[in-house]
């Protein structure tokens, strides 16, 4: 269309991203900085995004605003789901802006890229948004913790439950990047370990609007279960269009392998009812989650997702570890984090393994029918609590050098 424009645009966008990354307001020279690196504007922005920044800021405020006598500052940036953009921002934050820890990190390809930057710079990252179990598998890093959930726990939650309920033949609609492939792989392992089989899969580019073609392929596979190894807007569109094409009416079932409360709210119960899904956190678990979620809701007008809540939990534990270690040194902080159980109202019965995975209880929920729901955000009913050791168990073992036997 226009050569000059095509050449200038990517550079301009990157420059804009870096400008935003730097624009954290007046910076005091001696502060502890926490970076929220998230998808602020695209298909994952509602499950993490600006809400994650709010959650991290809440943790900082609840912690008292300072640690080791230094003020705590929260900076945030939009990584646009682009690993190269994310790496540039992370490098700039670590090297020039004095950022000590980066959190959120939605999108697996982004988290894997930033994990390499953190490994090289020996900095802490606490991953909440990304799902790929490779972060604590073959790509595991000594100063990274995968906090809230991963593809293994999703597979052990939704995947195992579905197979046990008779869904023993699967067809995957998979987001064609690190996350989707990891989720498909880990779910396949769980399906096969439980005696099911996988009939096929189709790789769909990220951020696809129309899934009808892929749904028809899934329909023709005659698999009992169509596993959606995608997330955010992609999962929403798949579920919505599956209803339109009569997939469920035709006898096949959908397994949304990563569905967030924000997705269900967006879809509406009429479309989403009956979906089973695995979460690390739901706002309506008990009085503590409700009280915290209400504070979050007052700021954002949305109930928190497990990613946003996980950011709060991770930041809180990080700051406590810094305080206990009396140091910002990455190794000392990680050692401190790993030395104690992680157990708060968000992450329960948790402890951090040597591969960096935070093993904790997960929950299998089912989306309520419209008649069962009493309020706008009354969306889930609890089916089962999955103990950590069971939820994070890898049927095929772990390739992480730190734990490999």
């Amino acid at each position: 269309m226009n050569g000059r424009f095509a050449a200038v645009l990517p550079a301009a966008l990157l420059a804009a991203a870096l400008l935003v990354a730097g624009g954290a307001g007046a910076q005091s020279p001696d502060a502890v900085r926490i970076g929220v690196l998230a998808d602020m504007s695209s298909l994952y922005a509602d499950l993490g995004g600006p809400g994650s920044t709010v959650a991290v800021q809440m943790a900082v405020d609840d912690f008292g605003g300072s640690v080791l006598g230094k003020k705590i500052e929260v900076v945030s940036a939009d990584h646009q789901n682009k690993p190269d953009v994310a790496s540039s921002i992370a490098r700039q934050w670590f090297d020039e802006k004095g950022v000590q820890m980066i959190t959120d990190l939605t999108t697996s390809s982004v988290a894997l890229a930033v994990q390499e930057v953190a490994r090289a710079d020996n900095k802490v990252i606490l991953v909440n948004g990304a799902a790929s179990s490779d972060l604590t598998g073959k790509a595991c890093a000594p100063t990274s913790v995968h906090w809230t959930y991963d593809t293994v726990s999703l597979a052990n939650g939704t995947g195992a439950a579905v197979v046990k309920a008779g869904g023993d033949s699967w067809f995957f609609i998979t987001a064609d990047y690190a996350f989707g492939h990891a989720l498909e792989r880990d779910t396949t392992a769980v399906v096969e370990a439980n005696g099911g089989k996988v009939l096929g899969a189709v790789n769909v580019p990220l951020n696809t609007a129309d899934f009808s073609s892929f749904l028809l392929q899934a329909q023709q596979s005659k698999a009992k279960i169509i596993g959606l190894a995608n997330a955010g807007g992609d999962a929403i569109n798949s579920i919505k269009q599956a209803a339109e094409f009569g997939i469920v009416a035709g006898g096949q079932k959908l397994a949304g392998l990563l569905v967030f409360v924000s997705d269900v709210h967006s879809l509406g119960l009429q479309t989403a009812q009956g979906l089973q899904l695995t979460e690390a956190f739901y706002w309506d678990q008990d009085d503590k989650t409700r009280a915290w979620s209400k504070r979050f809701f007052d700021k954002t007008h949305k109930e928190p997702t497990m990613v946003q809540a996980g950011n709060y939990s991770a930041t809180m534990h990080y700051l406590e570890a810094v305080k206990a270690a009396g140091s910002l040194d990455s190794a000392a902080v990680i050692k401190e984090l790993k030395s104690k159980p992680i157990d708060d109202f968000i992450i329960r019965n948790g402890h951090i393994h040597d591969d960096g995975s935070l093993v904790h209880d997960m929950y299998l929920y089912e989306v309520k029918k419209p008649t069962e729901s009493t309020a706008e955000w009354d969306l889930y009913k609890l089916i089962a609590t999955i103990p950590g050791d069971q939820a994070f168990k890898r049927p095929r073992g772990n390739e992480c050098p730190a734990v490999k036997g």
């Binding site: 994952y44 922005a45 064609d176 580019p205 028809l216």
Partner: protein, 298 residues
Amino acid sequence: MFSWLHIAMPPAPALFAQLLVGLINGSFYALLSLGLAIIFGLLNIINFAHGAQYMMGAFCAWFLLDWWGIGYWPALVIAPFAVGAVGIAIERLLLRRLAGLDHLYGLLLTFGLALVIEGLFRQRYGSSGLPYTIPAELIGGKNLGFMFLPVYRGWVVVFSLTVCLATWFVIERTRLGALLRAATENATLVQAFGIDVPRLVTLTYGAGVALAALAGVLAAPIYQVSPLMGANIIIVVFAVVVIGGMGSILGAIVSGFALGLIEGLTKVFYPEASNTIIFVIMALVLLVKPAGLFGRAA
């Protein structure tokens, strides 16, 4: 003799189904590229805000339903007029100032506008989108033997084809269309014949924007009504317009439907490439016919 082909081919009914689905997507491409082509033809502006205007059409339908209980059918008429009016304001206040400058200025201005509009909607409504249900009359589907065709998708194809043909007829076969074609060639002379060309330009931009909004209303029940829906589709639609030939009405319609079909086939045979195939075709067309398939060489 070609029996080896069948090994890699899905059964014929499955292929029909995929082609039909491709045609459905093609009808969105055709409607959107039609509006772009009309705008480019007369205003010489590459309207990068087209995706945002498509999104505004879908949101307009949602507002009508959520705020005033006005349903799909009235929205199909109201939203294009409402968003078209916004387009007219944009042309009057902003685009008019760029008349006679290089394409790049219009493109940058509308690109900036699109970012601002999408940013505002995202700020207010988030990124996961809002649900909009299929109108009661069009719920359900027909079993065609080779596939289950949702009635709504069938409606989308028939309706957009009708709109495309009607637009083509107006432009190629009526006096208003003759004025538009003449003004595209030589606006100064048309004005010297007594036509208020600036007003014609404003209304044309409004009409192009209205077409985008119409596509947005059609899309609302299929996709989530999301601030991002336009940004996702607009780049593809630009490629469609370039392939068809910038400013060519027939080119926009034919290549819109054709590329929907090709994309549909790609989703069967090599799904990973389904969102790049159109750009590959664009590159090939530009190499062989720089003015596009239906474009007149400048």
